[in-house]
């Protein structure tokens, strides 16, 4: 229908409705007044509805609060869908890693091979004693303590585990020592050193109290078993 035809249809509807209204109003011949029970029921409804609805909906601040809560609920429900959640978590992880960590390996393999040649620390400063060891086929870790100071050494198969330096506060420095490149920095009260060879990635962390010379001695002492 064209706009003109719709306008004529509206005119026809209005004329018809005028006559219907006239017919309906002719029926209003008897008068009743609301019953007490009806008024009482209505009062109860008023109290129940008024108690939350009016206060909740008519206050602008609360309207904003309702919108925020609704947005939060929508976000939560969306986040509960794993198909959406996982890419978001991956993205957050990627951003975190890119801006706060220095990585040797990004992609960690799922099928873990076993370490064939295990390296070990053959020299330690005095009074450091072995305290713990973690081991999996592709990863091994040792820790030695002296009071609150400690040394940790980790070895993992290259590409199976990530090793990293926290570069959020301190830059990474490259050290060439005994024909081997090391990446290190000092963060807080600790020295952190990472390096790789053709097969493995290594990580050494030492308390500052050990002293840099001793750290180099420890590095020099790391040899295959």
């Amino acid at each position: 229908m064209t706009n003109h035809q719709i306008d004529i249809l509206k005119e026809a509807l209005l004329i018809t409705e005028r006559y219907e209204l006239k017919a309906l109003q002719e029926l209003n011949r008897e008068e009743i007044s609301p019953s007490p029970s009806y008024c009482k029921t209505m009062d109860c409804l008023i109290q129940e509805e008024k108690s939350w609805r009016k206060r909740l909906v008519k206050n602008k601040k609360r309207k904003i609060l309702i919108i925020l809560i609704a947005a939060l609920l929508i976000f939560s429900s969306v986040f509960s869908v794993s198909a959406i959640r996982e890419p978001i978590i991956e993205y957050i992880t990627m951003v975190y890693e890119d801006f706060t960590h220095f990585f040797f390996e990004e992609n960690i393999k799922k099928d873990l091979p076993a370490i064939e040649t295990e390296y070990q620390v053959t020299w330690l400063p005095d009074q450091y004693t072995f305290t713990s060891n973690e081991r999996s086929p592709a990863y091994v870790s040792y820790q030695w303590n002296q009071g609150e100071n400690y040394i940790t050494f980790n070895q993992s198969i290259l590409g199976t585990n990530s090793i990293h330096l926290n570069t959020e506060k301190e830059n990474c420095t490259i050290l060439e020592f005994n024909n081997q490149l090391y990446y290190y920095n000092k963060s807080g009260q600790m020295y952190f050193i990472i390096w790789t060879n053709d097969d493995y990635a290594f990580n050494l962390a030492c308390s500052e109290a050990i002293g840099w010379d001793n750290v180099l001695k420890i590095l020099e002492s790391i040899k295959p078993k």
Binding site: I8, E11, E17, Y19, E20, L24, I32, M42, I46, K50
Partner: protein, 182 residues
């Protein structure tokens, strides 16, 4: 009681209009509903449902003139009352609306439109149409309401309203067919 209905009116400017309408029409609607249902309790229920539906649709009514608002209010309470009647009595209410037969020919109506033949055909079609279809068409075209708003206003299921709208349009198209092709 008025406060209760006002809870459904979200815009403050609509509250004023709604208050005026309530004061003016509440008694009339109760009387009208009673004339259909012949039971005070049922009449009060129908009136209450009608006022809630009216309050929900105040945004549509605020721009209309008083005549159209009055037509809408009576249409709502008529529909709610008939629904209740049919439900309680388990039979269809039949209106005796002799005034409908008084609808004059288009030639006797003062109208701004020159296309009298089309107006006459539309009037004839609407006069002979079942009220259930005409109610829906009126709210759809004249009040520009969505099917969901029509469903709430008339107390009918949404699907029923959609079907009635479709059927009403078909009846109109059949009657106005030769004009619609122009």
């Amino acid at each position: 009681m008025l406060t209760f209905y006002l809870l459904y009116v979200y815009e403050q400017k609509d509250e004023i209009l709604f208050s005026k309408l309530y004061e003016e029409y509440n008694q009339k609607l109760l009387n009208f509903s009673y004339s259909i249902l012949r039971n005070q309790s049922d009449a009060e229920d129908a009136a209450q449902e009608s006022w809630i539906a009216i309050a929900h649709n105040m945004q549509k009514l605020r721009h209309l003139d008083r005549e159209k608002i009055e037509i809408y209010i009576y249409k709502v309470v008529k529909s709610k009352s008939i629904n209740l009647y049919n439900k309680n009595k388990n039979r269809e209410y039949v209106f005796e609306m002799s005034a409908m037969k008084e609808i004059p020919d288009a030639l006797d109506i003062e109208s701004e439109y020159s296309d009298r033949e089309l107006l006459q055909t539309a009037l004839s079609c609407l006069r002979d149409m079942k009220p259930c279809y005409r109610d829906v068409l009126t709210l759809y075209y004249l009040y520009e309401m969505k099917p969901s708003q029509i469903a709430e206003s008339l107390g009918r299921p949404l699907q029923t309203v959609k079907s009635q709208l479709q059927r009403g349009k078909q009846l109109l198209a059949k009657a106005l067919g030769e004009y619609l092709h122009d």
